[in-house]
């Protein structure tokens, strides 16, 4: 990754020197464009062809920024990359803010980021008396409740939290589904008979969108509105993904490792522990990552349909009452949950497979 910009640097620097006028006329052109952009004529044109303008603006921006890169000392190239990676989304947010406060974008559908941030803060610190929920369960009340009601009070705080509701459903469902998924996948990978018997069935369930069986699960569980069917649907989604990728991982093991194991006298258990399991782990983990993403999709969808708390409920409820900033705030929370869960899984992955760390690390 570090070589690519370096390779591109030289020809682009040469181009800068040969056509020294390029950045020279670009800067006034951008300024002119901004003046035009603020005019009334442009305002009307914008609403018809904003995609074209946005595209032209982006190309101009890339051209200008490209001219900057060769002038940055190599020492600061890493920092420069980070500034670009963070700066561009910040620019987009600023544009969004400006467009929706100035009325170019309809603020009812696309509230400015500042309003979303405020909504996120309000959601965090306030208690919704109507729904009897809060976003993160008001952790600042923990000492007080612990003193007055004991651990039951703390549990009640956790129960009112949207984040806790979603997180616990995903975590329980994921573990309950992934664990048997790994076991069944291993058995299917190792035993040809089991594989031939189960493969068609597994593939059939694999292509079925798991949300489709949610009504069946509501029938099966004693309390259709409880946690049971929600956790079960996450578990089932994770199970098939993990089982199928684990099977593929075991089947894909290079034969030479199995032969080396045999030649050095490994018995069945040693073969599993020292050869098959570690050799299949990379594919098992890519299955787990996939399953985690799917688990999040499924839980949000389920919470849309049938839940009185959870981030999916939060999105859907705020659509029903038309409080769009809170809808967006809930989306930010879902993104944060996704990042959090993926980071945890990556941390486990690095601990379990130390040999996959980069040679420098």
């Amino acid at each position: 990754m570090s070589t690519a910009p370096g390779d591109r640097r030289r020809p682009s620097a040469a181009r800068g020197r040969r056509g020294a006028g390029l950045p020279g006329w670009l800067v006034p052109a951008v300024v002119l464009a901004l003046i035009v952009a603020s005019s009334q004529v442009f305002f009307e044109a914008w609403q018809r062809a904003w995609l074209v303008f946005a595209g032209v603006a982006f190309v101009c921006l890339v051209l200008v920024v490209q001219e900057i890169e060769p002038r940055v000392p190599i020492r600061y190239r890493g920092l420069y990359g980070k500034v670009l990676a963070l700066g561009f989304p910040l620019l987009l947010l600023t544009m969004w803010e400006w467009l929706s406060t100035s009325g170019v974008l309809n603020a009812r559908w696309f509230p400015p980021p500042s309003q979303i941030a405020v909504a996120l803060w309000e959601l965090t610190v306030t208690y919704d008396r109507f729904n009897r929920t809060s976003l993160i369960g008001r952790p600042w009340l923990v000492p007080e409740r612990l003193a007055s009601e004991g651990w039951a009070g703390v549990a009640a705080l956790a129960r009112e939290s949207h984040v806790w509701a979603t997180l616990s459903r995903v975590a329980f469902g994921f573990v309950l589904g992934a664990t048997p998924g790994v076991v069944i996948g291993m058995v299917m990978g190792l035993n040809r008979t089991v594989r031939m018997m189960l493969d068609a069935t597994m593939s059939a369930f694999y292509v079925l969108p798991k949300i489709a069986i949610f009504p069946i699960l509501m029938l099966v569980f004693a309390n259709p509105f409880g946690e049971g069917p929600k956790i079960a649907v996450v578990a089932i989604s994770a199970f098939f993904l993990v089982a199928i990728s684990t099977m593929a991982g075991v089947q894909g093991i290079d034969k030479v490792y199995l032969e080396a194991g045999r030649n050095f006298g490994a018995n069945r258990w040693q073969m599993f522990r020292h050869v098959i399991l570690p050799a299949a782990l990379p594919i098992v983990f890519s299955g787990l990552r996939l399953a985690l993403g799917t688990a999040l999709i499924v839980i949000v969808a389920v919470e849309f349909v049938r839940a009185d708390r959870g981030v999916g409920f939060l999105i859907f409820y705020n659509w029903q009452v038309l409080v769009t900033p809170r809808m967006y705030a809930a989306l930010v929370v879902v993104m944060a949950l996704g990042v959090l869960l993926t980071t945890i899984l990556q941390w486990i992955e690095r601990r379990v497979m130390p040999w996959r760390r980069s040679p420098e690390g």
């Binding site: 030479v256 032969e259 080396a260 030649n263 050095f264 018995n267 020292h274 040999w355």
Partner: protein, 260 residues
Amino acid sequence: MALKIVATAAQKRFPTRNGWMTAIERFDLEVEEGEFVCVVGPSGCGKSTFLRILAGLDHVTGGDVHIVPGPDPTQPLNNVVFQEYAVFPWKTVLDNVAFGLEMRGIPRAERYRRARRWITKVGLTRFEDYFPSQLSGGMKQRVSIARALTNDPQVLLMDEPLGALDAQTRTVLQEELLTIWEETRKTVVYITHSIEEAVFLADRVVIMTAHPGTVKSEFRVDLPRPRDLSTMATPAFAALTGAVWEALRDEVTRAMAEQA
């Protein structure tokens, strides 16, 4: 000297869609204790199949191939140095080299002690905590050789161990291999397609024919030991490689014609 490996009228056939494919037929070979035998032949002549049968990873469909067991029943019969990539990527150099001992239930301190002895001999002391992905091809193959030798097998089987390496690394490892072998004097069966490598290393070079794979002829290599790179410059070496190539040429052209 006592016989260590005996193959009599060995035959190996594989079922294929168009009937049976014969890999090895009427294959006779005797290897003495402490002898270094190289098997050379055109690609697809069944030399690797023979090695796999010797290693117990495959079975004959006729005749008999066996290693004569030594007096110590706990000493493993054979270990294989596979072609590249057969070291476990998930184990460190130390754990790779100690693998055979670990499978035999030898306590950690003891197996690490024995493994470190061979790690030092193949010059990887600084790298014992490295994972194979951090090593070059030549270093990986040193790990593989050390793994086999640490297990102290009665017979060492090598399946084109240097085939995937570049020419310079290959030459260096050939010399190292000779030094190690002259120290241990293990019985070795070494598969290669390089005539120079075979003559340089072996006491005896066995030439195989293709389709069906059988022993065509044998050459005793009487070049004095210890050998080093200067051995390759002697007229005796040149004469031997010339003779081996003469015997092999027909087979190679025939194999190429069959593949075309």
